[in-house]
C-alpha cells in the first residue's frame, strides 16, 4: 500500500466506457485505498454531448432549464454502491468550498477502501444550448429575463493573476491595465462568459481578492425592477 492516497479523475463518459470495470471494479478487487473523482456533467464527449445512461432525462432538463439537471440522475452513485463502494460523496462541483472539504475528508479519513467523490454539475454548454432558445422566445415576447455575467473590477485587481492559476476558464483572461501608472495586465472576463460563477467561487474559497463581481442584467424589467433600481 502506498504511503499517500493516490487520486484518480475520470469523466462520467469515461466512467461508463471503461472506468467502471477496469478502474473501479479492479480497485475494489485489489482493496485499493485511493480516491476517485468522477466528473459528472451528464454527457460524453467534448463537443457532442452524447447521452449516457446517467444523463438527465428530458423532463428533468426541461424542469431545470437554466440550472444544472445533473443531480436528477443517480445511476452512477447507485452503481458504485451496488458494486461495494462504502465511502461515497456527491458534491456540487461549483461549490468550491464544499468540494475542498470533501477532498480533504477523502484524503484524511481513517476509513480504508476506495473513496469516490462524484463532482456534479451539468455541462455548461448543454445548459446554454437549452437555455438559449427559451430566452430568445421570452425576450421577444417581452417577458422578464435575467442575464448573468461575471466580471473583475479593474481598479481593485492588482494583476497578480492568482485567480487564473486556479481556473482554466477560457473567458477569464487578461487585458492591458487601464491604469497609466501600472504595468502588469489585469484579469478580465470576456464575452463568452456563461455565468457559471466558478471564478468568483474560487476567489471566495481561496480568499484571493475582492475584485470579482456577479452582474445580473434584468432584461424586459418589470415596473417593480425599475422602482427598485431607481432607489440607488
Amino acid at each position: 500500500m502506498s504511503a499517500k492516497r493516490p487520486v484518480a479523475v475520470m469523466g462520467d463518459g469515461g466512467f461508463w466506457h471503461n472506468g467502471l470495470l477496469s478502474g473501479v471494479a479492479s480497485n475494489l478487487l485489489n482493496r485499493g485505498d485511493g480516491v476517485l473523482v468522477v466528473m459528472k456533467n451528464g454527457y460524453a464527449s467534448a463537443t457532442g454531448t452524447q447521452e449516457l445512461i446517467s444523463s438527465p432525462t428530458e423532463e428533468a432538463r426541461e424542469q431545470a432549464l437554466g440550472r444544472s439537471a445533473a443531480h436528477s440522475d443517480r445511476t452512477i452513485e447507485n452503481t458504485l454502491r451496488g458494486l461495494g463502494v462504502k465511502w461515497l460523496r456527491t458534491v456540487n462541483n461549483y461549490r468550491v468550498r464544499e468540494m475542498a472539504k470533501a477532498y480533504r475528508e477523502a484524503m484524511t479519513t481513517p476509513e480504508k477502501g476506495l473513496k469516490v467523490i462524484v463532482a456534479e454539475g451539468e455541462c455548461q454548454l448543454e445548459r446554454q444550448r437549452r437555455l438559449r432558445p427559451g430566452v430568445a422566445k421570452k425576450l421577444a415576447s417581452g417577458e422578464r429575463v435575467v442575464r448573468v455575467k461575471y466580471g473583475v473590477d479593474e481598479d481593485t485587481c492588482t494583476g497578480d493573476h492568482s485567480c487564473i492559476r486556479l481556473s482554466g476558464c477560457p473567458t477569464l483572461t487578461v487585458k492591458d491595465n487601464p491604469d497609466p501608472l501600472r504595468r502588469d495586465p489585469v484579469a478580465s472576463v470576456i464575452d463568452g462568459c456563461v455565468g457559471c460563477g466558478l471564478c468568483g467561487e474560487n476567489a471566495h474559497a481561496a480568499v484571493l481578492c475582492p475584485s470579482f463581481y456577479r452582474a445580473e442584467v434584468i432584461q424586459n424589467p418589470t415596473l417593480w425592477d425599475r422602482i427598485v433600481s431607481r432607489i440607488l
Binding site: R97, T158, D160, L181, P210, A215
Partner: protein, 486 residues
Amino acid sequence: MSLPQRPITLLIAALGGEGGGVMADWLMEAATQCGFPAQATSIPGVAQRTGATTYYLEIYPARRQDLGGREPVLSLTPSPGNVDVMVASELIEAGRAMQNGFVSPERTTLIASTHRIYATVEKMQMGDGRFDGDKVAAAAGQLAKQAVLFDMRKLAQESGTVINAVLFGAMAGSGVLPLPRAACEQAIRGAGRGAEASLRGFAAGFDIAAGQRPAPPPPEPPKRATQLEDILELGRERLKDYQGERYAALYEERMKPFLAGDPRLAAEVARHLALWMAYEDIIRVADLKTRASRFARVRKEVGAKSGEPVVVIDYLKPGIEEFASILPAALGKRLVAWAERRGKLDAYNVGMHVRTSSLPGFLLVRSLAWLKPWRPMSYRYREEQQLIEGWLGLVADAAKRDAALAAEVAECARLIKGYGETHRRGKANFLAIVDALIQNPATASPREQAAAIRQAREAALADPEGKALGSALGKPVVWLKPVGRT
C-alpha cells in the same frame, strides 16, 4: 493536355469553437462544385473552448472529367515545406505553424488573424506573461512567401459572424485558392444557417486580402505615464483622492530627494511610491466599489442597454487581517501576531455575497469607505508607511552609489501586490530580497548587485511557491503557509 504537378495543400490552425470544421466543409464543397478532386482531414483538439484544432486539405486543381479516369494520390498529413496555404485563426497559432516549419518562403501564403487569445501559461504569470506578438508578425514577413495579416476577429464581430467566414474570405481574396469567389459563396449559401452573416464576413475578408479595402487599424497601445511630471501629477491626484491633501503633500515631500537626481529613477520611484501609498486596504476597496463610475463601468462591461437595471453582487471575504488593518495600530499588531502564531490568519474569514447595487448592500460597503478619516490611525497604515519609508531609504542609499542599482531596488516595490495570502507572499519575497541582496549583498560591485536583485525579483515573479526565488537567493523563502484553513 498538361495536368498540374501536385495538389494545392492547405493547413488550417484554428481554435475550438471558431468554426474551423465548417470552413473545411466550405472548401470541400467549393472544390467539389468546381469538379476538383479534394480531400480533407482534421485533428480535433479540445474543441468548443479554445483548444487548438487542425484541418488539412488537398485540392487537385484540375477537373475530374479531364483526368481520363485517373485519380490523384492525396495525402492526409501536411509536411514542412509542402504547404501552399497556411491559415491561422490567431497570431500565436501562426507563430506555432512557423515554428513547426509549415511556412516556407518559396511556397507558403500565410493567412492569419492578428488578434490574441492568451494561453493559460501567458495569463497565469504573476507579472506580465504575454508573448510579444510583434515577433510573430516580423517572422511572418521573413518566412512567408506572402503574408496576409489583419485583425479578423474584429471584422467577424462587425459582421455579426464567426471568424471562419472572414478567414475563408481572406483566402479567396488573396488569390491563392484555385476556387472562384462565386463557388466559395455558393458553398457558404448551401450550408444554410447563418449564411447571410457568413457572407458579410466573407466579403469583408475578401476585400481586405484583395487590397480593395483597408485593414482595420491595430488597437491603440495602452496609456502609460512615463514622464516624471505626468507621474507626479497622477500620483498627487490619486493620493489626494485616497486620503486627502495632506497625504498628497506627503507624497511630494517623499519625492523631493529624488527630483534632483537621475530623472528616470525619479520617475520609477514616483510611480511605485504612488501605487504603494494608495495600497488596497478594505477602506479603499469599499470606496472604489461604491463609486458611481464603477457602476457605470459594470453596466458597460456586461453590455446592459439603457433601461435595463443591473444588479451587482460583490464577492467579499474579509478576515482577521482585514479587521486588524482598521484597528488602532497597537491592537491590530497584537491581533495579527496572535493569529500568525496560531496559524489562524485565514481561519475566520466571513464569506459575503453583497448586493452592492441595493440600498442595504451599498450602505454596508459604503460605511467601510467612510472610515477614511480614521485610516492614518490604523494598524495597516502604520505598517505600510514603515515599509515605504524603509524602501525609500534603500533606494536613496543605492542612488548614492549607482543609478542602475537604485532602479533595481526601486523596482522591487512591484513585488508587493494583491490581497490576503498573495499580499503576504509578495511582502515576504520583498523582505527576503531586501535582507539577502540589498542590505547584506555578497558583492561590492554595484553592477553585480543590481543583476542579482533583478534575477531574484524575476524569480519571485516566476512561481507562486517561491521555489525559483529560493534557489536565486540560495536559501528557502518561507512565507506563512495556510495552516489549518477550513
